[in-house]
């Protein structure tokens, strides 16, 4: 790495370093975030899976219900991990603790702070993914070695939702507003083919569901996990990257306006 490029990456690394320091006190949160999808997997994947039997209408007849649900839970965990980290924590840092102001009195810039926070959120999504994959491998729920592509996929998902979270953080007026965020996230979690295939819906609903970012995130992880790797994955990844890029662009503009008064 050339020194110039190192100089450009350094501020981002410092923001990650700061978050890692904080993590020394709050690592249990990461465990909890890995635990939650595992609980869902045990309860709905395995428990309800017995009631469901084999999934009708899916390509491979050998696909069991837990194998079908696991990647969706993973995508949701990656999404929540990134979105919570930016939306909730960045709002807190921006408006409540106001820690970005003193940082901007140093050579750090708004863009570097924001990109640093997003990079950390992506890193967190990847950590959650690795933890989760480790656990499902132990349970013997890994259908294909392609599942390792999921680590890359989780980074893409983390990026997209971290940027959306940044945008949310600049809009939120107070903690009660996060109820509305929940009101968007919960139905997305429930309906984005997490627990049953798209075929359950009538066609018009299917189209709407396909537009959900979480649906694309699930597609990105479910294909490789079930051993189906094709060009459609690029489409899902592209969708998430573009959405993330737009959110980042807009969020940065708003953040600059808020922070430089």
């Amino acid at each position: 790495m050339t020194t110039a490029r190192y100089e450009r990456a350094r501020p981002v690394a410092v923001m990650i370093e700061r978050n890692l320091r904080i993590y020394r006190h709050t690592w249990a949160l990461l465990l909890a975030e890995i635990l939650e999808p595992i609980l869902y997997l045990g309860s709905i994947g395995l428990g309800v899976g017995v009631l469901v039997g084999h999934l009708p209408g899916l390509g491979a007849p050998s696909v069991g219900y837990p194998e079908f649900v696991a990647p969706a839970l993973l995508a949701t965990a990656a999404m929540n991990g990134a979105l919570n980290e930016t939306a909730f924590l960045m709002y807190n840092r921006l408006a409540v603790e106001r820690i970005y102001q003193p940082i901007l009195a140093t050579p750090m810039s708004v863009g570097e702070v924001a990109v640093g926070e997003i990079a950390w959120a992506v890193l967190r999504s990847v950590m959650i993914t690795v933890g989760f994959l480790g656990v499902i491998a132990v349970f013997g729920l890994v259908a294909s070695p392609w599942v390792l592509l999921g680590v890359l996929g989780a980074a893409v998902i983390g990026f997209c939702f971290a940027c959306v979270g940044l945008l949310v953080a600049t809009w939120v007026r107070g903690f009660p507003d996060f109820q509305f965020v929940q009101l968007v996230m919960l139905p997305m979690f429930l309906f984005a083919t997490t627990f049953y295939p798209l075929g359950v819906y009538p066609r018009p609903v299917q189209v709407a569901v396909e537009c959900l970012p979480l649906y694309q995130a699930i597609q990105l992880l479910r294909g490789p996990a079930l051993g189906q790797v094709d060009a459609a994955l690029l489409l899902s990844a592209g969708y998430l990257l573009v959405l993330g890029g737009l959110a980042l662009h807009w969020g940065l503009r708003r953040l600059r306006r808020i922070l430089s008064v």
Binding site: V14, R18, R21, E97, P102, A105, T106
Partner: protein, 343 residues
């Protein structure tokens, strides 16, 4: 504090001294300028409630290298707004601002690398411990871990926080936080140090320690820009200062020059029963050049305090407790930033 509270709301007297004399007390023309502002303006955009607000209104000033420069002024005068523009965290909305030979408009990053700043509200990082606050702050400047370790050990010592290094910031008292903020501002060994009310909330010991440190820094060639509401502090620390009110500069000069220009040499204080001010002032009329009425005392401005006292005795005011003292910066401040007064 009671005295300060009185004049805060009486800015209208500004009109009286609108055409303030601009002095240059010390001959400093040969020194290089570290901060130079021309027509510097800050207009905050309109919020939800109302219209745009001009907090700093086209001010000019010059800070020279290795001097201590002070901003005085009542609450809301625009001191912090000015400090934040000098710190390159708040973009000016008008005028030009040169700092350390660079233009604040386009070299913010390079300027900030050489500035240390103590904001008015501490804004420490509550998610980190005391030691980590210094460490990470040093990292923002790109300092190496070794340099940071050395520097933060020395600064924790200076801030008397060594035994609190592992404490969470929330567990600190108000004054300890202030000391940590000051220590933090010194992490990058700045050439220009901005201190917005640095000693508010400090105990006397900490205040003297800070003053000592600031004198030391000045000797090493560091330029200090500070605001304060303590006139004794301004008198002691500042080589030159400006008095601001309503976003404008109403006077500039060294503390001595300001006293010489704006008030008499001595002040006779007559202690009165609260509420009797107007009546006593009427009887004392003519005793001194100017008389001001405070809640519990009359301030009679005169060049000869003893003579004024004698005259007060002649008028039957001998029953009051009296005190003759030299005029201070506080008298200048009260005069310049306006309050009820009787000529």
């Amino acid at each position: 504090m009671g005295i300060l509270a009185q004049f805060v709301f009486c800015g209208y007297m500004l009109a009286v001294c609108g055409g303030a004399v601009r002095l240059s007390g010390v001959s400093v023309s040969s020194r290089t300028s570290v901060v130079s502002a021309r027509g510097l303006t800050k207009t905050y955009p309109p919020g939800k409630a109302g219209s745009a607000f001009t907090a700093v209104d086209a001010i000019d000033f010059e800070v020279h290298s290795a001097e201590a420069f002070g901003f005085l002024g009542p609450n809301g005068a625009g001191k912090s707004s000015t400090m934040r523009m000098i710190g390159c965290v708040s973009p000016p909305t008008g005028g030009t601002l040169q700092i350390l030979g660079m233009d604040a408009a386009d070299s913010g990053k390079r300027i900030r690398a050489r500035i240390g700043s103590v904001p008015q509200d501490d804004l420490l990082d509550p998610e980190l411990t005391v030691g980590e606050n210094l460490l990470i702050y040093g990292r923002y400047f790109g300092m190496s871990r070794i340099a940071i370790a050395e520097r933060s050990a020395e600064l924790l010592e200076f801030a008397r926080l060594t035994d609190k290094a592992d404490a969470r910031v929330q567990a600190l008292s108000g004054g300890m936080r202030r000391r940590l903020t000051i220590a933090r501002s010194l992490m990058n060994t700045p050439d220009l140090l901005l201190l917005d009310e640095p000693t508010t909330g400090l105990d006397p010991q900490a205040r003297h320690l800070l003053w000592e440190r600031l004198f030391e820094l000045k000797r090493q060639g560091v330029t200090l820009v500070l605001t304060t509401h303590y006139m004794d502090e301004a008198e002691r620390l500042c080589d030159r200062l400006v008095v601001m009110d309503h976003g404008r500069v109403v006077a500039t000069g060294s503390p001595r020059a300001l006293i010489d220009t704006h008030v008499t040499r001595e002040v006779l204080e007559l202690l009165i029963e609260p509420g009797t001010g107007a009546a006593v002032a009427a009887r004392a009329y003519g005793v001194a050049d100017r008389i001001e009425v405070l809640a519990d005392r009359l301030l009679c401005y005169t060049d000869d305090g003893e003579r004024a006292l004698a005259r007060a005795h002649e008028r039957g005011l001998g029953g009051l407790d009296a005190l003759v003292r030299r005029a201070t910066l506080e008298d200048v401040f009260l005069y310049l930033t306006g309050r009820s007064l009787i000529e």
